[in-house]
C-alpha cells in the first residue's frame, strides 16, 4: 500500500540577507492512513516549516526547497503546478493552525468560513455549503450549531474557535490533517477536549494526522509514530512506544528528562537541556546537538551523524546510538542526576 504522505529527505532553506537559514535540513517520514505522527522539538527546530512545506505555504523566495521531495499518494507535490496544489490544499490535505484566536477571519460569519472549502473544492452552492457547515459545526460539538454558524469569530470562545477550525479542516474529508500545535493557545481542560475530538474524528474518518507539538504529553496520548526534530534535522524516528520507552538519541533523553514528573514525590528541580538551540545560519560542525550534549565525545565534533536505522523501524541520528555501552549511560531518573 502506498502511504498517503511521504516526505523524503526534505531540505527547505531560506535565503536571507544574513545568510542561508537551513530551517529544514534533511527530514524524512512516511505517514499511512489512519495513523498519527507526532512531531516534537524545541521552538525553531523546523517543525512548523516542515508542515508549511507540505502545504506549500512557504513564500518562495525567500524559502526554497533545495532538495528532497514531498509525495501525496505517490505523486510529488513539488512537481505539481499551483492549480493542482490548490486542489490538494484544504481538500485532501488540511491544516489546523496554532492560534484559534487569530486564524479565523474576523469579518466573516463562522458558517461562511467553514463553507468556504466546500464551495472551493466540492462546488456546492451557497445554501448547500451553509447547511453542510452547520452540520460540521454540530459534529465538532458546538451546541445549537445552526444558530451559532451565524456568529462572528469574536463571539466564539477560544475552544469553540478551535473546534470551528477543525470543522473547517475536516469539511472536505481530507486524507491528511496537519495540526500545528493545535492546543498550545488553549487552557488545559479545553486542550483535553480538543485532543479527544481529534481522536474521535480520526476514528470515524480515514484521516492520517500530523500532530506538531512541543508537548510530549500530547504525543504520548495520540501518536503512533514520533519524529523528534532538532535544528532542522530529524534526530529520532520510531513508534511512540519505542521513542518513549527506549529512546536512542541524547536529545530525546533530554526532552524526556525535562518533563515534570508526577510519579516522583520529591520536590526536585526540573532538568532542562542546557544552552540554546543553535543559529540555523551557522550550524556547529559535526552533530548539531553536540555543543549541548552531555554525552558528546570527540568524534561528535567532526562527523555529522546521519539518520540510521538502529532497530527495525527505529531510526536515530547519533553516532553512538548503536553502541550498547553508550546507551547504558542513558538517564533512568531525571531527579537522580539533578542532585549530583
Amino acid at each position: 500500500m502506498v502511504p498517503v504522505l511521504e516526505v523524503d529527505d526534505l531540505h527547505m532553506h531560506f535565503f536571507t540577507r544574513d545568510g542561508v537559514v537551513k530551517a529544514v535540513d534533511g527530514v524524512s517520514f512516511t505517514l499511512e492512513a489512519r495513523k498519527t505522527l507526532g512531531v516534537v522539538g524545541e521552538s525553531g527546530s523546523g517543525k512548523s516549516v516542515t508542515a508549511l512545506s507540505v502545504m506549500r505555504l512557504i513564500p518562495e523566495p525567500p524559502g526554497k526547497v533545495v532538495s528532497g521531495d514531498i509525495r501525496f499518494k505517490g505523486e510529488s507535490i513539488l512537481a505539481m503546478n499551483e492549480r493542482d496544489q490548490r486542489k490538494l490544499r484544504g481538500n485532501r490535505i488540511a491544516m489546523i493552525f496554532q492560534d484559534p484566536m487569530t486564524s479565523l477571519n474576523p469579518v466573516y460569519r463562522i458558517g461562511k468560513q467553514i463553507a468556504e472549502p466546500l464551495r472551493l473544492h466540492k462546488g456546492l452552492s451557497k445554501k448547500e455549503a451553509w447547511v453542510a457547515a452547520a452540520e460540521l459545526l454540530d459534529r465538532v460539538g458546538i451546541p445549537e450549531a445552526e444558530k451559532r454558524a451565524k456568529d462572528y469569530p469574536h463571539e466564539f470562545s477560544g475552544g469553540m474557535r478551535q473546534r470551528a477550525m477543525i470543522a473547517m479542516a475536516l469539511a472536505c474529508g481530507p486524507d491528511v490533517l496537519i495540526a500545528d500545535e493545535p492546543t498550545t493557545a488553549l487552557d488545559v481542560t479545553i486542550q483535553a477536549q480538543i485532543l479527544e475530538l481529534m481522536q474521535e474524528i480520526q476514528a470515524r474518518t480515514e484521516s492520517a494526522i500530523i500532530m506538531i507539538t512541543h508537548d510530549l504529553g500530547v504525543v504520548a496520548d495520540m501518536a503512533d509514530h514520533v519524529l523528534v526534530m532538532y535544528a532542522g534535522k530529524a534526530v529520532e524516528f520510531g513508534t511512540a512506544d519505542e521513542v518513549f520507552y527506549n529512546p536512542l538519541h541524547p536529545y530525546t533523553w533530554g526532552l524526556l528528562e525535562s518533563l515534570p514528573r508526577h510519579d516522583v514525590d520529591e520536590k526536585g528541580q526540573l532538568c532542562p537541556i542546557s544552552g540554546q538551540p543553535p543559529s540555523l545560519i551557522n550550524l556547529p560542525e559535526g552533530c548539531a546537538f553536540q555543543p549541548r550534549c552531555q554525552y558528546a565525545r570527540e568524534a561528535c565534533q567532526r562527523r555529522l551523524p546521519g539518520l540510521v536505522e538502529i532497530e527495525r523501524g527505529h531510526l536515530s541520528a547519533c553516532l553512538f546510538s548503536g553502541d550498547k555501552q553508550f546507551l547504558a549511560e542513558s538517564p533512568r531518573c531525571a531527579y537522580g542526576r539533578a542532585q549530583e
Binding site: L57, R89, A94, Q98, E116, L120
Partner: protein, 319 residues
C-alpha cells in the same frame, strides 16, 4: 494595555456620561453580535461634530440631487442670461428677491451655488472613486505580492508625489481638454499614490495574520485571498481616506476651475464662480463670499466626518 485601564475606569464612572447621551452598559454592547461596521457606527453616533458634518453633507447632496425639481421655479435658470435686463439686474447685493445677491450677468448666486454643488460633488465623488479604485488595486498588489512589484509600484507613486501637483494637473487637462470627466480623471490620476500607500501599509499588516495563511491552506487562490480575506480587513482605514479625499477633490476642482482649467465656464461650479469674481471682489464681495463659504463648509464637513470615522474605526480608542 496601558491605555485600556484608565478608559475602563472612566467608562464605569457615571459622572462621565452626564450631559452626553446615556452610554450602553459595556456588557450589553459586547453581547449584541456586533460587527466592525456596527461597532464603528455606534461610536460615530456619539461624535457630535462628525454627525453635524454628516448632516451637512447629506443636506448639500440632497439639494444638489433634487435641484431640478424646485430650483428653476424658485430661483430661475442658473445659466440663462436676459440680455435686455442685465444692466438693472447685475451685481445686486443680497435681498429678499436674491438671497445671495446676483452676479455680473444678473444670475441668482444661490441658484448657481446649488447647481454648482452638483458639479462639485459629482466631480469630487467620481474623482475619489477613480482614485480609490486605482489606489486600492495598486496598493493591494504592492502590499500583497511585495518584492519587485512593491518596489516598482511604490517608486511610481514617489514619482507622482515629486511632481508639482497643480502644474501636473494643468498639463494633463491641457492634453485632454477641459470637461467634467477629464477633471475627474486628472484628480484620480494625481490622487492614487496616497491611497495606494496607505492601503499597501494596511495590506502589509493584515496579510501577516494567521487567517490569511489559513485561507491559503483551504486552497483559496491568490486573488481570492487578496480580495476576500485581506481586502475586507484592510479596507477600514480607506473609508477615512476616501472621505477626506472627497473634501480634497472639491478643493482641487475649485482650484482648477478657478484657474480656468477645470469645469467649462458655462456650467456653474464653485471654483468657476470664484474665477468670475476676480475683478468684482471689491464691488460685489457677496459674489466671492457665498461660493467660498460653500466650498469651506463642505470641505470642512468632509474632513470632520473623516476625522470622526477614523476615531470610530480605531479599535484602540474603545471606551
Amino acid at each position: 494595555m496601558a491605555n485600556e485601564t484608565p478608559s475602563q475606569d472612566t467608562a464605569k464612572m457615571p459622572i462621565d456620561t452626564g450631559g452626553v447621551a446615556p452610554e450602553l452598559p459595556i456588557e450589553e454592547a459586547a453581547g449584541k453580535g456586533r460587527t466592525l461596521w456596527a461597532d464603528a457606527w455606534r461610536r460615530l453616533r456619539r461624535n457630535k461634530l462628525a454627525l453635524v458634518a454628516m448632516g451637512w453633507i447629506i443636506f448639500v447632496a440632497l439639494i444638489a440631487i433634487t435641484a431640478d425639481l424646485w430650483a428653476p421655479k424658485l430661483l430661475g435658470d442658473p445659466t440663462f442670461i436676459d440680455t435686455t435686463t442685465v444692466a438693472q439686474r447685475s451685481l445686486k447685493p443680497p435681498s429678499t428677491a436674491h438671497v445671495f445677491g446676483t452676479d455680473k450677468l444678473g444670475r441668482d448666486i444661490l441658484c448657481r451655488i446649488i447647481y454648482g454643488a452638483r458639479i462639485s460633488l459629482l466631480v469630487a465623488v467620481l474623482a475619489v472613486a477613480m482614485m480609490v479604485i486605482l489606489g486600492l488595486l495598486i496598493g493591494a498588489v504592492a502590499g500583497y505580492y511585495g518584492g519587485w512589484w512593491d518596489a516598482v509600484l511604490m517608486r511610481l507613486a514617489d514619482i507622482f508625489y515629486a511632481f508639482p501637483y497643480v502644474l501636473f494637473a494643468i498639463v494633463l487637462l491641457a492634453l485632454m481638454g477641459p470637461g467634467v470627466l477629464n477633471v475627474c480623471i486628472t484628480i484620480g490620476i494625481l490622487g492614487w499614490p496616497s491611497i495606494a500607500r496607505v492601503f499597501r501599509a494596511s495590506v502589509l499588516s493584515v496579510k501577516e495574520n494567521e487567517y490569511v495563511d489559513a485561507a491559503r491552506a483551504l486552497g483559496a487562490s491568490t486573488w481570492r485571498v487578496m480580495f476576500r480575506h485581506v481586502g475586507p480587513n484592510a479596507i477600514a482605514p480607506m473609508i477615512v481616506y476616501a472621505t477626506m479625499g472627497v473634501g480634497a477633490a472639491i478643493l482641487t476642482e475649485a482650484a482648477l476651475s478657478f484657474l480656468g482649467m477645470g469645469v467649462p465656464l458655462g456650467q456653474p461650479s464653485w471654483g468657476g464662480m470664484l474665477n468670475e469674481v476676480r475683478s468684482y471682489m471689491v464691488v460685489a464681495p457677496w459674489m466671492m463670499a457665498f461660493p467660498g463659504l460653500a466650498i469651506l463648509t463642505t470641505v470642512l464637513a468632509f474632513v470632520l466626518l473623516g476625522d470622526g470615522l477614523r476615531d470610530a474605526f480605531d479599535v484602540r480608542l474603545k471606551e
